[in-house]
Structures are given as structure tokens and as C-alpha cells.
Symmetry: D3
Subunit: 174 residues, 6 copies
Amino acid sequence: MDLKGRKIVVLAEEAFEDLELWYPVLRLREEGCEVTIAGSGSSDTYTGKHGVPVKVDRNSGEISADDYDGIIVPGGWAPDRLRRYDTVKNLVRRFAEQKKLLATICHGPWVFISAGVVKGYTMTCVEAIVDDLVNAGAVYVDREVVVDRNMITSRRPPDLPAFMREIINYLKTH
Amino acid sequence: MDLKGRKIVVLAEEAFEDLELWYPVLRLREEGCEVTIAGSGSSDTYTGKHGVPVKVDRNSGEISADDYDGIIVPGGWAPDRLRRYDTVKNLVRRFAEQKKLLATICHGPWVFISAGVVKGYTMTCVEAIVDDLVNAGAVYVDREVVVDRNMITSRRPPDLPAFMREIINYLKTH
Amino acid sequence: MDLKGRKIVVLAEEAFEDLELWYPVLRLREEGCEVTIAGSGSSDTYTGKHGVPVKVDRNSGEISADDYDGIIVPGGWAPDRLRRYDTVKNLVRRFAEQKKLLATICHGPWVFISAGVVKGYTMTCVEAIVDDLVNAGAVYVDREVVVDRNMITSRRPPDLPAFMREIINYLKTH
Amino acid sequence: MDLKGRKIVVLAEEAFEDLELWYPVLRLREEGCEVTIAGSGSSDTYTGKHGVPVKVDRNSGEISADDYDGIIVPGGWAPDRLRRYDTVKNLVRRFAEQKKLLATICHGPWVFISAGVVKGYTMTCVEAIVDDLVNAGAVYVDREVVVDRNMITSRRPPDLPAFMREIINYLKTH
Amino acid sequence: MDLKGRKIVVLAEEAFEDLELWYPVLRLREEGCEVTIAGSGSSDTYTGKHGVPVKVDRNSGEISADDYDGIIVPGGWAPDRLRRYDTVKNLVRRFAEQKKLLATICHGPWVFISAGVVKGYTMTCVEAIVDDLVNAGAVYVDREVVVDRNMITSRRPPDLPAFMREIINYLKTH
Amino acid sequence: MDLKGRKIVVLAEEAFEDLELWYPVLRLREEGCEVTIAGSGSSDTYTGKHGVPVKVDRNSGEISADDYDGIIVPGGWAPDRLRRYDTVKNLVRRFAEQKKLLATICHGPWVFISAGVVKGYTMTCVEAIVDDLVNAGAVYVDREVVVDRNMITSRRPPDLPAFMREIINYLKTH
């Protein structure tokens, strides 16, 4: 329970990758961290790509990065929707400006690309979007988890243990 | 990575509760623990109640409790199937005889009831099967997680953080 | 039309075994019997495990056993839900107290276990729940249909012809 | 068990109306009648419109009307497929030539239309196909069940009790 | 854009054959033709047999054939529903009386059969309903597209290119 | 039939946007054009996002751009898969080198981005991927269809009539 008092936002939209949302949420709660699941505002509940449901706590427009220690963006098709919302992109930019934790996995980096916060970072992602990430100015490497300053990225669901190990380690030390 | 070298069996069958299987599997891997997903033998792959798939590593008949530190039984409808197999029930009994970790959640205690290993234990479970658990000789309490000697039980998916906190604590101290 | 004037309750909840609900309902109607489909109150319509829908006539809390000749509990996953409701369990107990027909098939006996009415009865059920039935005090036998005083039980959908033959015979003779 | 020794064919194809196939099959078995579920030959198993599966015993081309007392055609979309097969139409014609029981419900009369056996019969059917039935030379009436010589017809699933009451009565008296 | 100023009705109901509705709608729009998608009135939106959705513009009862150049009826199971509505059948009859374009494919001719407008026409259709079409007084031929005066018919989705080629040619020349 | 003798490749993968694949395929066939549906090689059949199936004619690795007049990439999630295959990207590059038609809609431009052929083109696309397109060096405009030399692009299914009008016009004049 070493993260008691810490607060993290996890973004949600339709067709999120089920485990990429739920593993971080449950894992952080296990450490005593307070997790807020934030949607785009299009609905109060979403269903994962495989079918696991999630209820949203708040909409991204109602949240201030000042109140949180970082933001996590799960993959699946949800990022394709999330990146269309100004409230989502503005929220991510505030976290970036405050040098707070930016963590994402699989197709999640699309949201960071559209928020304009990936330039100069060394990152990883699912194979399909490597070109989008590189065109946006990031340095791509193929590793299960990459930590570059306040940016933590992974590739796919089997990387989740490594992804959360680094996120928790980061939060304990920052 | 404090559980490097430790080994746990997680049972799987059709219609497992998606997060109750996957959260323990990923969580233990995060700690460096080796997880074997064991099925009844009816198939090599199963689909969760909501739709998340899992690939089985071994069948319950091919595994010896001697090689593992404990067994976890997720809920959903999978326990209704698992409890029909002698190989499953025998495997659970070997863990019980060796006083190794017996952990289960939601509808999972059905498997322990049919293996005949719950008598005298204080346990929790999903509301629906309380009568079955009590009739089998357990003492039921309504708490997010109950630890009684080598038996750890929880009620439902929102209890997963507490469930795994106790399982990991147990494995680190036994 | 030999059961004209007789009245039977059939319980329904989400994920009932489609034919185990509908065969008794249609069969009794063929005999002129009045059938009331009673739910737990959680919804007005339910969908069977395979997908056949049913509309509920009344909720279990609005029904008095005094007005009926017996109660039938179909299987599937519906019994796992039905047994959680006090109105359902109380209704079953009133039928038991009045020594009226108690009939169930497959996973249906779970409802009778939670209502506390199986002790001392010789019964059958689906393989998966034999231990729960025995732990609750019933004597289990493996036969397509078992009639013990006012209790009639069967195992699975292929037993439906034998199950209804005995139920109709019982109602004609009691 | 008054129909012991009698034999009936029930036709099956993809998207049969679930209860219109299964209620007659189980009901006749309850009376001791031997039921053969016969498909078009396109598959060994079919799934009902709602999702209930059925396994076929024989293909329509392997069956002789000489060995049976009648044929029943359930509704749903299955009749739209069945009527395309010569083996199906020939089988129906043999039953008609031998003046054996021809029973059908809902959209099932399409099969009898294509077999050319409805001319001059008074029949009922689902509202949608009344024009097809009349154009084929039948006399249409709107009743829950219609018995005209060896032809028994009904309209929809709620008519099943009346439908089977007349079929069983017919078989007991012919 | 040679059909600018021309107007066509396309009928829709639940379980329409997805491409048989959408190919004509999009194709006519490509030519500048104004397309009105008209339903039976049972709903504002329908889902195709495979899953493509459609939003209805108007109900068949609110439309006058005087304002349109013709009507197209897609196949699938939608025609089985459409033919039950008097507003649908009356609308088709008005088009027929005015000798305007009557076009249909696959199971669509059922609607024209029930509207009583096929007698004496040479037509084609899906194999399953040939008997219904012939019994209604049409002359059946097996060709990808048949044009007989103001009636244009085809058999199945692969015939759509030929079907629309003739429909567009007809509208350009009438 | 003005495109007789012309040949076009349409790319397919799982979860293609149903109408964005099928409208171009049927439309070109209506003009007499020979269409080859080419997959990535992962399967012989794919299912659209909504459920319409498609059978693949050839794999992208077996096709030479020399034999065709252009290539069309439908949207949906299929582009996310297609862009991972070297055979797909190489095929697109050969079309680009030969200045042959490159047409795409919705999420389809992802494939052209990964093939490296969008730099300097004025293009449109679905809102979600505008940043990816701009980062790859294209000039984005928000119009139903954009023609820039041999590149034709549209945004979403309602643009299909405009999209195909320009594609056919292009093929008739080049």
C-alpha cells in the first residue's frame, strides 16, 4: 500500500483493450493509489474489445492535471476515439507541461501523438503504429517497456507485468 | 520481483470470470512468479464470460502439486465445469494435503467444495453460493478477503486488489 | 385438457436453460393448466442461455403458494440468481410447507437447497451440483427422473419427456 | 406412452424456430413415439433462430416415408432453405401420396407449397405467407390450429399447445 | 450525375440484405438521384442480416408514389416483414398503377406478390421463392437481371452490378 | 461498361468497413472493370466491422502492380492490420512509382503512410487520423473527396458516391 495518497487518471472509451485498462486500474488500487477512470464524455459506460465493461468516474473535461500524479492510456480501438476530443488532448498536455507521469501501451500512443507530447521521447508501441510514432518525432525501440524521463511505454498485453512494475517503481520514486 | 522461483497453478475452463483469471496471472508474473494456467483437458483455449481468451499451458492431470507453491481458482461459470473432473479435484486435494496455498474467489469455492477441502475453514464467496459453502462445513464471513491458515478467499472482481495483496503477502512469508 | 383449473408457477431469471423453461410451460398449457411465469423482480423479460426470450407474468413476491398447485424451477444459470432472493426462497418454502409439488431439473435444485427444502428427499440433478445437493441433506441418485413424495427431479434437457410425464401424472393424481 | 411404436420425421435446417422444432420433438418422445430429426444434408447440426442447437439424425434423402407415420415441418427461416432441396420435396410428396400426417406451423407451409401438396386443403400459417399459401391453392383460415383430413397447421409458437394436442390426437386415432 | 432531379424510394425493414439495400442507395446518389429510404413504421432504424445499420427517412404511409420515379425492394428477411403492412402494399400498387419503375432482388419479390403486381411479368428471383412467384402469375427465368417493361429483377448480391446497370439505364431513358 | 479491360486491386483484411470495400468492388464491376480483392495472406476470408463477409482472390504478395491500373484501400480497422505487411507496403509503392491510381477512404490512408507514398499530396481522411497524415507529410483538407494527381481520398461511408464518381472519372480519362 505504498502509493496511498497518490492519484492517477486512466482514460477509457469504447473498445479499449480489456486487460490494458483493467490491469493498471486494479494494480494501482492494490497499492492504495486512488484511480479515476475518465472518459471522453460520449458515454458513462464502455465495453472493451473483448467485452469487459467499465463505468466511467468522470469526464476528461472535468479533471485537472493539478490534482493527479499521472495519466495512463490503455490501447485497443479506444485511442482512435479519444484522440478526437480536445478535452482529452488538453488534459494530456497539462500532465506533460507539469512533467508528470505519461504512460501508455499498444495503440495508446496515438493519444499522445495528437496531444503533441511525444517529440524527442524514446518510446515503444504496437507494431502497427510505429510509423505514426516516428513521424510524430519520437524515437522508437522494440522493448517490453521503455522508461524515458516521465514517459513509460509498452507494446501489448503480455508486457503488462513489466509495464506496471515500472509505473509503480516510478511513482514510488517521484 | 520478490517471487522469483515460486510457482503457482491457476485453473481455467470455459466462461471463467475474465479479470479473476487474468489479474492474478499478470500480477504474479509481475512479481517474477512462474504461473501455469491449467485446464480440465476439455480444450486448449477458453473464452471468459465477457470474451477475453486464454490459452492453457497444461492439463490438470499432467501437473503435480509437488512442483508448485499453491493453486488459484477464478470464478465465473468455469468452476461449475472444473468441479466435474477427477483430475482437477485430485490436484486440489494434493495441494490441501501439503498445506500449500489454496486461493479462490467468487464462484471458485465450488471446486474446493467438490474436492472436499473446505471443512473447518473460515471463508468468503459470492452471495449466491454461501449456502453451498456452509453446507460443506466452512464458516462463512462477508469480507473482501479472508485469510485462514493456507486458505485465501474473496467475493467478487472489485475485491481483486485485496485478494492479490494477501496472496502475494502469503507467498512472500511462507 | 385434464389439468383444466390447475395452476402452476414456473420460475424465470436471466440465462435460464431455454427448453427446461419452455417445454414445461407449453406442455402444461397443452393440458389446460394455467401457468404463471414468475421472475425475481430484477426484470420483466429474460433471455435464455441459448437466446430464447421469455416475458414474466408476475414477480415471486406478488404470488401466494395458496393459489397454486406447485412450482417448477428450470435449470441453466438462472437458479444461481434466483437463490439470492428472499421472495423466491419464501415462495418455495410455502409450497414445501403445504406439501405441494416441488419440481426441478439440472441446476434448478440450487434454489431448493437455498430454500432449505431438500433434506431427506431422494433427488437427481446435473452432475456438477451433486455435492451441493448431498451436502444439503438430500439422497442423490442418477436417474432420468426421480419422484419422492411431492418432489420430482430430473438431470438435463434430454430428460424433459420423462420429467413432464411424471409431473403431469402427479398433478392428475393429486 | 400411447404412441409407442409410432414414428415421426421432423425436418431441420439452419435458423429453425427453436420451440417449433423442439416442442414437437420432446412432446412426441414423451408419448413414446420415435422421432427422427432429418436435415437437408447441408450440415449435421443446425442452430435455431434464437440459438438453440439441434443434431440431425438422418438426411432427408436417406429416409423413406414408408417407415414413418407422418412428417412435421417447424417454422423460422429453415423452410426457406428446406424447400430448395429435391430430396426434401420428394420425401414430403411420398407422405402426401400415402395420406400420412402432414403437419406444419408458422413459415413451414412454404415447404409443402414447393412440394405441391397444399392444393384444396384448408390451412393456417403465419400472417406473412398467407398470399403464398392462397396462390398455391389452399384455403386460408386464421385459427390457432386447423385439421383438414391428414393436414394439421398452426400459426406461431403460442399455438404450439393446440398444435401438438391435435397431432397427438390424430396419431392416436389413425 | 445524369439522374439529378429524379427520385427513388428504397424500402427497409429489419434483416434486409445489407448490400442489396446499400448498393442501390449509394449508386443512385452517385448519379445525383434523390433516394428516400422508407420503412414500414415499426422502427426508425434497422439492422441488416449481416449487421450494417440503416436509418429510415420516412415511413411508407407518409409517401406518395406521385412524387417518385420508382421503388426498389432489397432482399434478405426484410420482405417477409414488409409484405405484412397495408401501407407498404398500397404504396407499391400506386407505383404499379402509374407504370413507374418496380425493381427488386433476391427475396424482394415477396412484397410485389403480396401487393398483387407481378401477374404476367417475366421476372427472376432467389431460387427459394420461385414457386411463390410462379404461383402468383409471373413467368420465371433464371438470369442475372430481367427487364420486362417497368419491372427489373435480379437474383442475389453478385447480380447487383447488372441490376443497377439496368435500373440506371431505365431511369435515364424513361 | 466503359472500364472493360481495366483492372483494379482492392485490399482486404479483418474488420474492413463493410460498405467501403463492397461499394467500390460492385461499382467497378458494374463498369466492366476487373476487380481483384487482395488480402495480406493471414486468411482467405474476412468479416467486415459490421459483419459482411468477403472472400479474397489473391494475396498481396502474389500480385504485380504492372498488371493493374490502380489500388483502392477501404477503411475500418483493416488498415491497422494491412500496414504491418511488407508485401502490402511493397505493392502500394509499386503503384506509386508507376504513378497509377492510389485511392483510399476513412482510416485507409494509414496504409499509404506506412508505404511512404503520401508526402506532398493534398488528401482527406477520417478525423481521427488527421495528425498521422499531416505528420507523414501530406496536406490535409476536409472535403468529401480530394483528387490530387493520381491520389483520390475521401472521409467516410457517406462520401462513397463522390469517391467512386471521381475514381471512375479518373479511370476513364487516364
